[in-house]
Symmetry: D2
Subunit: 128 residues, 4 copies
């Protein structure tokens, strides 16, 4: 039997499953940031954008769960043609859970006031 696509891919990785899971978590968070920052946003389309970002993360490999929320307090209601903004890292809170074999990684991106930075970090790694 020929090796599956996933077996072929696995051969490129020179690290543990645990390290690979963390690597995949970093990929997913940065993908959200760099793909969607700059998207036009107002109170009226925040929810459809949240759902589309979540769905776009879910189609990628090893994603067990994802939750995206845009901070509504930073958005204006549309009162004239120019009442919309561009999505920024300050507005985003993204939670991504990766699962590869028996490893689960919980990772997150959110704006940390204390360092004035939309930080991507590893909240937890667990093994079954």
């Amino acid at each position: 039997m020929s090796p599956s696509r996933e077996e072929k891919v696995a051969e490129y990785f020179n690290c543990s499953i645990r390290e690979r899971a963390v690597f995949e978590a970093g990929i997913k968070l940065a993908a959200v940031y760099h793909q969607f920052i700059g998207t036009p946003i107002s109170a009226s389309n925040a929810e459809s954008l949240e759902r589309a970002i979540e769905e776009g993360v879910k189609v990628q490999p090893f994603v067990e769960d994802v939750k995206v929320s845009v901070d509504r307090s930073r958005l204006r209601e549309k009162k004239n043609e120019y009442d919309y903004q561009s999505l920024t890292g300050e507005m985003l809170d993204v939670l991504v859970k990766i699962k590869i074999k028996n490893i689960r990684v919980t990772s997150r991106m959110r704006y940390i006031k204390d360092v004035r930075y939309p930080l991507m970090y590893v909240e937890e790694i667990s093994e079954d």
Copy 2:
């Protein structure tokens, strides 16, 4: 009475309303292309992405209507972790209608086989 935000903006334009409407149409189509190309996509999230792109266009100035469709025949069903693709210009058909005062512009982006190119063009300009 102080000038509105839109009156202030209008002063920067040295062209007719008709030309401005065409300019705005070009902006909207290129925004879709350059914001969303590269987004992870498969048969499962195509619809949520279409709606989010449409909503993101609608919050911008002078958009009367917008219709986005992703060519399903180019998408794979997810059978393994790597069965997803990145959104390309070949997959997209985007129709944007701009209205400023009495001018309507219908513009479109779609892949034209004959020139192997996702072309953005002006389908129609009409005046009430």
Copy 3:
């Protein structure tokens, strides 16, 4: 003789050359904004990014000239690992000149304080 690629493309446009030139200007400005907003930037890489954006505009159709500048006063010198920012519309000043046949369009995107908005507008249209 078979029609050239440009002749084939021209047939899709239902507008004047003048209107098409304005449409192309809108496309170029929005392409810069939505492609590059979010790019990591600090004082050290601002110039290479400016040049790359300019070169990326120049390869597109009908571009006669382009000038991109990033507002250095908004950038931090790198003193620690987190001293960089993401490119925003507030930092950008982009001038694009389009030429189709005898028509020249000068268009611009820059942050307008008065309306708190990175505005894209048509500065001038001229005919030879």
Copy 4:
């Protein structure tokens, strides 16, 4: 003495330095992909884009080295207005080295023919 910005950031990570270094590698590769895919490219601007992507990676935290190359065999010389393409994952080869304390991670993104996929993977992890 108050904690530095980097000490504050470190507290958010619930993982080893080694895992964090791998996480940062994933972030950098995905940032390149999702920021720059879709950029207009031809033989004439490939080099300036390569340099700008490299410089944009270098300003991010913990990057020791980065090398970006665009596959010239996939690019067309500009013979008419439409002879340019959009950057795709198939064209890119990106090598990123991360260093945190005594840990070095070498990571890479390149198109793997065998799986028809621009794969991001961990080539090597080493400790001083």
